[in-house]
Subunit: 387 residues, 2 copies
């Protein structure tokens, strides 16, 4: 944490845990007899319960979206640029919830949890979870919190897919969906990158068919490769050029002609890969990439996204970033077009930003401005009319 | 081989081997006391020795650029679409040479060769080879074949980089350089992909610090991952969409919710990865990616490519493909601009093609037409004036 808490931070926050003892039937056909969701809450729920915002996290995110969990924390939550007093998701006005998704590895029930049926960690036995399953489990969390209707559900990337799925499944349980850096389904190229990441993990000899916990090891190499590869797809070519160019690692002034790190970009990727291994579970990574691959709300409508969105009642803000090549603006426009085909209310912003897919986590001024303006409107409605 | 040899194929060809017993000093500072280059030759060298074409291969290519090595061959050489009677590189008019590059694994001296100093395979001890080293070794092959000046040197991708390097190093030993799907140096993103591929190989427990031959194993998993990843960068998103879309593997009609192959694109990538392992050496793959990373003729001129090209005498054909995101047309235009800055003769074609980087291997009509027209001019000059 910085010496003193910045005035636009939610400051120290503590995760909470909600337990659910009614079985949840999953899209894969299996069910979880019981589960826990760890979440954080910022701001205050108003008397009308009309100012609640659900934040959905992406592939490697957690429930810790803003603030600091302890004074020793060096880094704030993953969406600190967007959540806090005076920020687009203004905690002076909104009551903000973010939970670690089912299948996660930061406290919610997932592969590292003890399976009550066996007394051992679920590991590879944890059922495959889909975006739909997450939305169902989050709806129960809303019930638990006494929130009938979210003022908005917001997320970037895989988080945005959850917002979209909410709008489809529970049209009357959210007023707004904020869908940032998303795609209505993965492309073959997106799936291909995920498949290489999964192969890296699953072919690691220390993966042990997903039962590595029983062997007291971790498929470090595979998970590290998966993360390195992921990182390339999160950054734009421009961002990499600006950040690293072809610079040699610090302290070097010429090629060494060997296989150790020579370029700054190699050093960066290895660092990202190595540090990820210490905070993320390989089985969870597999689950998250599968949730991405399977997400395809139009599939039940012969690929017609507009038909999938017929029943939507929420208003939408859709945001894309020009240099995002993982989910390019064209993919966001597919969502916008399908909403417009149904005469739904949608605002679309294509933000000029060099950061690539990761831009949704960055303090890009035009992005924050658009987001803030939209959320101001949401806040005004919440204050005026209640749910 | 097809039932009968197609009239536009060079037909059955046999690799030859040239041995060099004068030490070759390499850019890394080490030297090879002796080495062999395996090559193929198609067509006939004319009396004036003015019709010789050097073909340079890319990362996973070999000396086998055209025709069939045996009647049992199912597939012809890697550039069959461009080399043969009546094709752009017309073997009725040109004498065509293609060698397996130094460090390769298809017959030329490389990591799998026995190191005369130790009696064991070079393995990881094989020195790191650069594009400059290849060009030097190819110049000796030209001497060996009695070719003072190539009518043209042509290649795609890493092969094109060799053509460019030839034009810089031996300006009077080639009349034309055909530079297809190239970049004057790798971007940080290109290097990043190579680094993940190398990490996949080097972190495979069966890599044994590159001495896997001594352990009678092969780092299959790592090499397979490297190839899968490479393949994604060779294909465009459009090509993948056209080829696979989100189609499920044949025989499936719904998700199985497991980690085996579900989508066609996953099946394709795994097949590509697996078959590659049987025909390629992991140490060679490492060498080739490093040669790519190090290639940067402008580096000695403070990044000014135009200065690097001041002494060039060859005329250039530069070809790029619209959907190539590995080396986009913008990268080819950097080369064109640097040549024009020096008032060099250069033709540039940006070909509309959906295949991505791999387009240079594909029978794209406009590409073959441009290539043919250019080579017609080269042939006419060869016939008229000799060297």
């Amino acid at each position: 944490m910085p010496e003193s808490i910045p005035p636009d931070s939610v400051g120290l926050v503590e995760p909470k845990c909600a337990r659910f003892d009614t079985a949840l039937t999953l899209e894969c056909g299996r069910s979880l007899p019981s589960y826990e969701l760890v979440y954080e809450a910022y701001g205050k729920l108003n008397a009308e319960r009309s100012n609640a915002i659900l934040i959905c996290h992406a592939l490697s995110g957690t429930h810790h979206a803003a603030g600091y969990n302890s004074p020793a924390d060096r880094k704030p939550g993953w969406w600190e640029v967007c959540i806090g007093p005076g920020k687009p998701i203004d905690t002076n006005r909104f009551f903000v919830i973010c939970c670690n998704n089912l299948g996660g590895c930061h406290g919610s029930t997932g592969p590292t949890t003890i399976n009550p049926a066996t007394g051992e960690p679920y590991g590879a036995d944890f059922p495959i979870i889909t975006v739909q399953d997450w939305v169902h489990s989050q709806a129960r969390l809303a019930d638990h919190l006494g929130i009938d209707r979210w003022a908005a559900i917001a997320g970037g990337s895989l988080g945005a897919m959850q917002a979209l799925q909410w709008a489809i499944e529970y049209p009357h349980r959210l007023r707004h969906a904020v869908v940032i850096a998303a795609a209505p389904r993965l492309s073959a190229q997106n799936i291909a990158f995920n498949e290489v990441a999964r192969q890296a993990i699953r072919s690691d000899p220390e993966f042990h068919s997903g039962r590595y916990q029983n062997h007291q090891v971790v498929p470090r190499r595979g998970l590290m490769l998966a993360r390195m590869l992921g990182h390339i797809t999160y950054l734009s070519d421009q961002a990499m050029r600006a950040k690293f160019g072809r610079d040699l690692r610090r302290g070097k002034d010429d090629f060494d002609f060997h296989y150790e790190v020579e370029f700054e970009v190699e050093s960066y990727l290895r660092y990202q890969g190595e540090s990820f291994v210490n905070r993320f579970d390989a089985n969870t990574y597999l689950l998250m990439t599968k949730a991405l691959d399977y997400f395809d709300p139009a599939a039940a409508f012969e690929g017609n996204l507009a038909k999938a969105l017929v029943g939507v009642a929420a208003q939408f803000l859709v945001v894309a970033f020009t240099s995002d090549w993982r989910f390019s603006p064209a993919r966001s426009r597919e969502i916008v077009r399908a909403l417009l085909d149904n005469d739904k209310e949608v605002s679309y912003a294509e933000i000029e930003a060099d950061h690539g897919h990761d831009a949704f986590l960055m303090p890009v001024p035009q992005y924050l401005e658009v987001f803030r303006t939209y959320m101001d409107k949401v806040a005004a409605e919440s204050a005026e009319s209640g749910v």
